[in-house]
C-alpha cells in the first residue's frame, strides 16, 4: 500500500467498464471484497449473529481457549470473544465509514477546485493542505478526545478532516494531468462551461484514483481507530472494541497468549483486505485503459538464429567500421513474440554518414539501440550479428562491451535536455566522463572539458559548464550532448533524430557541426531521421526502413534521383517541397501497419499502387539491383523499367 506517496498512475484513459471487468477478474480483489462483505454483514447484524451477549460474564469460563461452547474462547471476565468481536466490529466499521465519508466529501471537491481553477485557489488550498499535514493526526485527535472524552465519532471525524490533504493532493494532481490534455481546451472552445467540463471530462478520469485512495484510507482509518481503542480512549473497558480487546489481551500474555490472536488477526485481516482492495483497484484503473502497470514482459532470448552465415569475415575493404547482419529485435506481448526489427543488415565505413530513414514505427530507433545494447525493458535482440573490428557486439560479454562504450561507439539522442543528468552541472558530468576514458587529473579533465565544449562551437564554455541541462537552450544542450559523445573519441557516432526537436536554424548549425567534426576526426556517423531534407544534407548513403525491414539501400543522390521502391517513391512524391505549390499532394493511401500486424508477403503491398499477385504470397528478399543499390521489391524491373538517367 503506498498511500504515503501520491503517485497514482493515470494512464491515457479510464474506461470504467473495462476497469470493472478487469477488477472482477482479479482473484485478490474478489477475495478482499468477499472478506470485507462478510465481515460487514456479520458485524452489522451482530444482534442476530452473535451467539452471546457481549457483556455477559461467565466467571466459570474465564480465559478459556476455543471450545465448542465459545468458538474463540473467552476473555478475562469470561465473556465470549466471538460475540465481542462482532459487536466491536460494528463500532469499528462505522468509524471507518465516518472517516472515509468526511475525507471524500470534502477532499474531492477541494482537489478538483485546486487542480482545475489553479491560481490563487490552488495556492490557498495548497497552503491549507500543507498546514494540516504539518500536524501528526493522532495528537490532534488526542486533543479532541481530551475535550470530548470517549467520543469516537468526534475522533473519527477529526481524523477524516486531517486526512483531507492526502486525498486533495491525489485529486489535484489527477485533475492537473487531465487539465493539461488538449481535449479540455478543445471542449472549452466547443463552447462548454467550466462546470460541464469538470463533470464530463475531468471527473470521469479522476474518480478512479479517488476510489483507490478511499480504500487505502479506510485501511488507515481502521488502523487508527483500533489504535485509539487500544489506548482505551474511546470507550470504557467493558464495551467491546477490537483495539480494546487487544489491550486486554496484552495484560494476560503470559497466562493466555491465545487471547491476542482473534482480535489481532481480525484487525490485521480487515486492514489487509482494505489495502489489497485498494491496490487491486489501482491496477484495474490502469488496466482499464490498456496500459501496463510496470509489469514488464519477460525478456526473450531464443536460440533461433536466422542468419546462416555465422562466419562472415570482416573483409579487407578498408575503412569498414560496423557491419550489421540480419539484426532482429522482438518484444513479448500477451505471451506472443512480436518482431519489431526484422533481419536488418547494413555496413558503415569510416568518415562516411549512413542515413536510416523511415516513418514512425518502422524500427529505426530500435535498430540503433540494439547496436548499442541499450534496448529498453521488454525488447530483446533475438538474432543477427553486429561486427565491430571482427567481434560480434551482440554476443560479447558485458565487460568487453563496456570497454567500447563511448570510446568506440557513441550516441546522441533526440531530446537534448533530457539526455543529460538534471542533477549535475554539465561540466561536472563531462569531467566525470573524461576521467573515465582517460586517466587524468581533475585539472586536466577540466581543461579538456572546456576544450570539448569549444570544439562543439559553444561560445562561452565556462558559463555553459557551470549550467544545468534545463538551463540551456535546445541547440546548446544538443551541442553539449555531442561533446559528451565525443569525449571518448569514438570511431562511430549514432545520432537518433538529433535535430528533430530543434528549430530549423539551429538544425542547420548542428548539421554543419556534425559535418565538420566528421572531417576533423574521421569518425563514421549513422544518422537516424524521418526528414528527407536532413539526409540530403549530410548523408552519403541511406537505407529506408518500413515495417521493421530495410526496403531500399542506396547512395544518396541516387536515392533521390532514382528511387527503386514504391514506398520511397511514394514518400518523395508526397513531399511538399518537391510539389507544385497549391497542388494536390500525391499521397500513399492507408496507414503504417503496427508490429504484429504485418502482411505475410510484401509488407507494403496493402498500400502499394503497383501491387500484383507475386507480392503478397511469400516474404520478399532484399535484391541487389545495381552497385550499392538494393530494393525489396519483386516488381522492381517492371515498375521502374527504363527509369535510369
Amino acid at each position: 500500500m503506498s498511500i504515503l506517496t501520491d503517485q497514482i498512475a493515470i494512464g491515457p484513459a479510464t474506461h470504467s467498464y473495462e476497469s470493472a471487468r478487469s477488477l472482477i477478474r482479479s482473484p485478490v480483489a474478489i477475495a478482499a471484497i468477499t472478506f470485507l462483505g462478510v465481515v460487514t454483514l456479520v458485524c452489522i447484524s451482530a444482534p442476530v449473529t452473535a451467539p452471546y451477549d457481549p457483556l455477559h460474564q461467565d466467571l466459570e469460563r474465564v480465559l478459556s481457549s476455543p471450545t465448542a461452547h465459545n468458538l474463540l474462547g473467552t476473555d478475562t471476565l469470561g465473556r465470549d470473544v466471538l460475540s465481542r468481536l462482532f459487536y466491536g466490529g460494528r463500532r469499528s466499521l462505522l468509524s471507518v465509514l465516518e472517516g472515509v465519508v468526511v475525507v471524500v466529501a470534502l477532499g474531492v471537491p477541494m482537489g478538483l477546485a485546486a487542480g482545475y481553477a489553479g491560481g490563487w485557489v490552488d495556492r490557498g488550498l495548497n497552503k491549507f493542505a500543507e498546514t494540516i499535514m504539518a500536524v501528526p493526526a493522532l495528537i490532534i485527535v488526542l486533543v479532541v478526545l481530551a475535550v470530548l472524552p470517549q467520543n469516537e465519532d468526534a475522533a473519527m471525524i477529526s481524523f477524516g478532516l486531517l486526512g483531507i490533504p492526502a486525498i486533495l493532493r491525489v485529486v489535484r494532481s489527477a485533475t492537473l494531468r487531465v487539465r493539461e490534455d488538449l481535449y479540455v481546451a478543445a471542449a472549452r472552445i466547443s463552447g462548454l462551461s467550466h462546470l460541464q467540463i469538470v463533470k464530463r471530462h475531468i471527473f470521469p478520469r479522476v474518480w478512479g484514483p479517488v476510489i483507490v485512495q478511499a480504500s487505502l484510507f479506510a485501511a488507515y482509518a481502521l488502523l487508527f481507530e483500533t489504535g485509539i481503542a487500544y489506548l482505551g480512549l474511546t470507550a470504557d473497558p467493558s464495551t467491546p472494541t477490537w483495539g480494546g480487546m487487544v489491550a486486554e489481551a496484552s495484560t494476560v500474555i503470559q497466562r493466555q497468549a491465545w487471547l491476542l490472536v482473534p482480535s489481532g488477526t481480525v484487525i490485521a485481516s480487515t486492514i489487509l483486505a482494505f489495502g489489497l482492495l485498494g491496490d487491486a483497484l489501482r491496477d484495474a484503473v490502469v488496466r482499464g485503459e490498456g496500459g501496463s502497470i510496470n509489469r514488464v514482459p519477460r525478456s526473450v532470448v531464443t536460440a533461433r538464429d536466422r542468419d546462416a552465415d555465422t562466419a562472415e569475415p570482416m573483409n579487407g575493404r578498408s575503412g569498414l567500421v560496423l557491419r550489421a547482419r540480419n539484426l532482429s529485435v522482438s518484444t513479448m506481448r500477451s505471451g506472443a513474440e512480436i518482431p519489431i526489427v526484422d533481419g536488418v543488415s547494413f555496413d558503415v565505413y569510416a568518415g562516411e554518414t549512413l542515413g536510416i530513414i523511415g516513418e514512425s514505427g518502422c524500427g529505426k530507433s530500435v535498430t540503433a539501440l540494439a547496436v548499442l545494447r541499450s534496448l529498453p525493458q521488454g525488447l530483446r535482440a533475438i538474432a543477427g550479428r553486429v561486427y565491430w573490428q571482427g567481434d560480434d557486439l551482440l554476443s560479447m560479454t558485458e565487460r568487453s562491451f563496456d570497454g567500447l562504450r563511448g570510446s568506440s561507439l557513441a550516441y546522441v539522442s533526440q531530446e537534448p535536455q533530457s539526455s543529460l543528468d538534471p542533477t549535475f552541472t554539465v561540466g561536472n558530468q563531462l569531467v566525470e566522463l573524461i576521467r573515465h576514458h582517460q586517466r587524468v587529473s581533475r585539472r586536466k579533465a577540466r581543461s579538456s572539458a572546456i576544450a570539448l565544449l569549444r570544439q562543439v562551437e559553444l561560445q562561452n564554455p565556462d558559463q555553459v559548464a557551470r549550467a544545468y541541462a534545463h538551463e540551456l537552450s535546445g541547440g546548446m544542450a544538443q551541442r553539449v550532448a555531442i561533446a559528451f559523445a565525443l569525449a571518448g573519441r569514438p570511431k562511430l557516432l549514432i545520432a537518433d533524430e538529433p535535430t528533430t526537436a530543434l528549430d530549423v536554424t539551429v538544425q542547420a548549425e548542428i548539421l554543419g557541426l556534425l559535418r565538420r567534426l566528421q572531417r576533423e576526426t574521421g569518425m563514421a556517423l549513422i544518422l537516424i531521421t524521418h526528414n528527407w531534407g536532413v539526409i540530403a544534407d549530410i548523408c552519403d548513403r541511406a537505407v529506408v526502413m518500413y515495417a521493421g525491414q530495410i526496403v531500399e539501400k542506396s547512395g544518396i543522390q541516387e536515392m533521390f534521383d532514382r528511387p527503386l521502391h514504391p514506398y520511397t517513391l511514394g514518400l518523395l512524391n508526397s513531399h511538399p517541397s518537391l510539389a507544385e505549390p497549391g497542388s494536390r499532394l500525391s499521397s500513399i493511401p492507408g496507414n503504417v501497419p503496427s508490429p504484429g500486424s504485418w502482411a505475410p508477403g510484401c509488407r507494403f503491398a496493402p498500400r502499394c499502387r503497383f501491387v500484383a499477385e507475386e507480392c503478397v504470397k511469400t516474404p520478399i528478399p532484399l535484391i541487389d539491383i545495381g552497385p550499392g543499390h538494393a530494393s525489396r521489391c519483386v516488381r522492381v524491373d517492371q515498375i521502374f523499367a527504363k527509369a535510369s538517367a
Binding site: I189, S190, T505, D537
Partner: protein, 349 residues
Amino acid sequence: MSSTTPLLIAERLCVRYRRGGRIINALDGVTFEIQSGETVGLVGESGSGKSTAAKAILGLAPVHAGSILFDGKDITHLSFKERRETYRQVQIVFQDPYSSLNPSRTIGDTLSEPLEAFGERDHKRKRDRVYEMLDRVHLPSTAVDRYPWQFSGGQRQRIAIARALMPSPRLVILDEAVSSLDLSIQAQVLNLLQELQVTSALSYLFISHDLGVVRHVCDRVVVLYRGRVMESGPALSVSGRDSAHPYTYTLNEAVPVPNPNAQRARRAAVGVPLTSLPDDTTKIRDQQCIFAPRCHWNQPQCWRERPLLRPAYPNGLVACHRYPEWRSEIARPEPHDAIADNGAQVIRN
C-alpha cells in the same frame, strides 16, 4: 487582393506573460489579416509567439494591448458568454492528435459535443450531422462507437478536424496540425484540408514551423520572430528568393532541400552565419530591431529604432531598416533558381 472587409484583423496585438519575476512579451505589436477563403500562414521558430496568437484569437491568452476584429466585430476582450458566439465561427485543430481527444469518450460523443454546447438537443439531427461530418473527412460511419485509441494519428487528426467543423465555422486555426504526422499521412491530411476549404468555404490560419509545408499550402505568410512580425506577403515571395527580411532569408536558407546535390551547392555558395545566442538571456529593448543581435547586416540604426512594417514588394510588408540594401550585401554570385521553383532540379551554375 480584394478590397472586401477581411474576415479577421489583428492589430498591434500585445500579449504579456509574467515568468519568474520577468515580463515576457509573447506578442509585441503583431498585425496581420485574413481574408475570406484565404489560407494565411503564421511561421516562426520556438518563442516566436505563433501559438500565442492563436490563443489570443480564441480568448485563451491575456491581451495586453491591441485588438482583434472578427467580421468587423471586436473580439479582443469578451466574456465567456459573448465569446461562445465567436466559437461558432472560429475553431481550432491542435497539434497533438493523442491528447486532443478524450480517450474515454466515443468518437460520436466527442463530435456531438460542440453541437450540444451550442444548444442542439435533437438526437436525430445530431446523429445525422455527425455521420455527415465523418463522411466528409473520409472516415467510416462505424467510427461513431469507437474510441480514440483504436485510430492512428492521422485518423485522429481527421476526427479533430471534423470536430472543429461541427459548428460550421468560417475560420479554422490549424496550430501545427500536421507537424506530428508522418510524411505520408501529412500529405493525406493536407489534401483533406484543401478539399474542405473549398466545400465549406473556410479560411485557415495555418500555424507552422515547417516552411516547406507552409509554402505549399498558404496564400500569404506572416513571419514572426520573438513576438514581432518580420515580414508578411504572398507565400511564394516570402519563401522564395524575394524574401525581404534577413530573418526570412536565413530561415529559407536553413531549410535543407530534399536533393543532395542541390543542398551541397547551396552550402557551397556562401551561407549566412547566424550568430548563435541563447534567446532567454538577451535583453531586448523596446526601441530596437528585435532581430539585430543575430542579424548579419545590422547597423547602428537597427539598435536605436524599432523598424515598422512597410511595403516591400507587391502585397508584401517588411519590418527592416535596411531593406532593400542588405540584399546587395549578400556574398554570393547570384541567387540560384532551383530553390525558389522546384528543389528537385539540379542547380545550373
